[in-house]
Symmetry: C2
DNA sequence: TTGTATGCGTTATCAA
DNA sequence: TTGATAACGCATACAA
């Protein structure tokens, strides 16, 4: 990506202490030693190590167990003792060591989520909802990035299992053979999401990519389109959608669909180039299904660039119903995927299993819906 | 957000076992008990609990210490013993318990990142780079969401400290008083980023939001604009940019700038409405600075919607230089923030401090640059 | 209501 | 090169 230069006189005050690879003209660096020797706030902590439960116990004049109880079972304590301990905890900024308690209890109060990438807003609704639901149950969420790389995936899974999380949520990720074996040997509850895998490791909540492809094709057919196009990613799920889309078109007696594949991740540029490719090959195409809203927005920009009116000359349908889909010009018809619900259900499943409670449905299809706006 | 319905006949096979709040017409649910009683892969593990180091030791006919050494100091072992242990580890899918080793070593090999939100692509480059750099040093990254809520922030910081990470990176987040006190008492290395706070907790790598506001104003002035507008978020850093922008305009003898504030997070819709607001109040505005690329893209869409040519009738500058900025119509002039470099430096700082090595610069300004494209 | 002893799984230290 | 021992910080079981 090209980095231009501003028109301002350079503001550089002093050269960076480390060799800078930055091209920035607005640049300064300084080192403050004082910030370390004299922190802006008085240290509550006289020692140089964080306090542990024994320190608090000493300060409060009780045993370590009483401090533990003050934290975990306050109702079992004499109110006065409780107050004394709580004061000590607050004034010493004591924070329990979760490594120790997790080891003791075999419960880390931690759930890990594995996803292919943080780039792109596709999974963010799901993550947000998962995080929120888990927090409410006192669990923390840890995020791991597989980066679409199957080779590194097993390593990441190993790193995750090391922390002994109470559950693992796989988001848009299919585990490799080695990964599956590790997960199963770990006995950690696993929820796979964003798809309906034929062979689930454990639990599953998602939707059918096949059904999506078919539904969008039939959506176009119902509106009288006969020349269908598609701008698609090229991962496994995307190919399922492409196949179903093409198959449904064929079943409706339509000519062959025109597909342009774009490399991951989805970008505006990919959508622009994808649509341009489709129209170059088959200018008679009147409807395109883009496999993400970002690609669809790129397609809208490209259509406008080419002087095509949407939806009169070209219908566009996206996938994901991102926040911005309602604000494009024209507003985007798109497939709504309820990431919030997936996150909620996945959290429920993990929490239940973690507490040895029954899980009513191990495999759930949450479906999808086509949000009809003005672009189709 | 309105959810329409598709035109397909419902594919519902069987009602969901849990009451569904989904509006989806494409919907099914099922439960598989077999998936639990008969996993698709033969269990390598005869017991129902994950194996520990003693189990491996027994299987390999050595002591637990030898297994530990095989993992952490393989060079100290007899090659034959090493091989035997490694075979046992692989066949049992043994994964060490990081809670136990972390407790023993007081090193969790974990770094936590705190950010206000995952929504919006602003911090993703930074996160990606931080994660990558830390992975290379054998650390894992854990992400925590503060959600712009100062009240919950202390709780999150407490939850993070509980895990005893080797470092904490704050991204676009200023800790509350209580949060700062907790962090300082914890003795965990902290890197604040995305800003140059006046009173840093510990280490710092960022850029000056004041300088950005001034630089963009001067960019517009240099191009001959006299009526400046701004579409901005309303957080603390955004207000600093607004003030600097207005101040620089005044210093150049320009009339008062017109500012529209939009609520977080940045959206296309916010950009559209923001620009509309600015133009409604002052139709004579010829240049707007949007405080994110997403807002800027919304502004481009709105400008086009209103029949304004960019940059002839209206100049637009964004902030962030997101991946899509080069593919908008027209390509977006924007302020480049080198999130990759911030992540890299933050990782270096944490790793150095974690290993008790000297950190050469505790406070670093990495600057920024204006990427000149066609929208201004 | 509060305290004592014990073990969670791992690894540094020392001894063989 | 390998093994025995102890300790990391906390919470359950039991005792007082």
């Amino acid at each position: 990506m090209a980095i231009g230069t501003g028109r301002l006189p350079p503001l550089q005050l002093r050269p960076n202490t480390t060799p800078s690879r930055s091209t920035s003209p607005y640049h300064l660096a300084w080192t403050t030693i004082a910030a370390l020797s004299a922190p802006p706030y008085p240290p509550v902590q006289p020692t140089d190590r964080p306090s542990k439960i024994q320190d608090v116990a000493r300060a409060a004049g009780v045993s370590a167990m009483t401090v533990s109880r003050a934290i975990n079972h306050p109702e079992r304590l004499n109110p006065e003792t409780l107050q004394r301990v709580r004061d000590a905890i607050a004034s010493m900024r004591y924070v329990p060591n979760a490594l120790a308690s997790g080891l003791r209890l075999s419960r880390a109060r931690l759930v890990a989520a594995l996803l292919p990438t943080l780039v792109g807003p596709v999974f963010q609704e799901l993550i947000q909802s998962l995080d929120h639901a888990l927090n409410q149950h006192g669990y923390q969420l840890m995020i791991g990035r597989t980066g679409y790389d199957a080779a590194q995936e097993a390593d990441l899974i190993r790193a995750i299992i090391q922390r002994r999380p109470d559950g693992i949520v796989m988001i848009g990720t299919a585990a490799s053979e080695e990964g599956r074996a590790l997960l199963q040997a770990s006995r950690i509850p696993v929820v796979e999401t964003w798809d309906l895998a034929d062979t689930a490791i454990d639990m599953l909540v998602g939707f059918s990519h096949h059904a999506i492809g078919a539904a969008v094709a039939e959506h176009f057919v119902a509106k009288g389109h006969r020349q269908l196009g598609m701008v698609s990613g090229d991962d496994a799920r995307a190919r399922v959608r492409v196949a179903a889309y093409a198959q449904a078109a064929q079943a409706a007696g339509l000519p062959e669909v025109t597909v342009a594949f774009t490399p991951a991740p989805s970008t505006l540029g990919g959508g622009r180039r994808g649509l341009a490719d489709v129209l170059l090959k088959h200018p008679e195409v009147t409807a395109v299904f883009c496999s993400s809203d970002t690609l669809a927005l790129g397609a809208l920009i490209e259509a406008q660039h080419q002087g095509l009116r949407v939806p009169q000359d070209l219908a566009v349908v996206g996938l994901g119903d991102q926040e911005f889909a309602k604000d494009t010009a024209p507003p985007l018809t798109t497939v709504r995927l309820d990431g919030t619900r997936i996150g909620q259900l996945a959290a429920d499943m993990i929490v239940a299993r973690s507490l040895d409670q029954p899980v009513d449905a191990h495999h759930v299809d949450i479906g999808f819906a086509i949000t009809q706006r003005s672009s189709s």
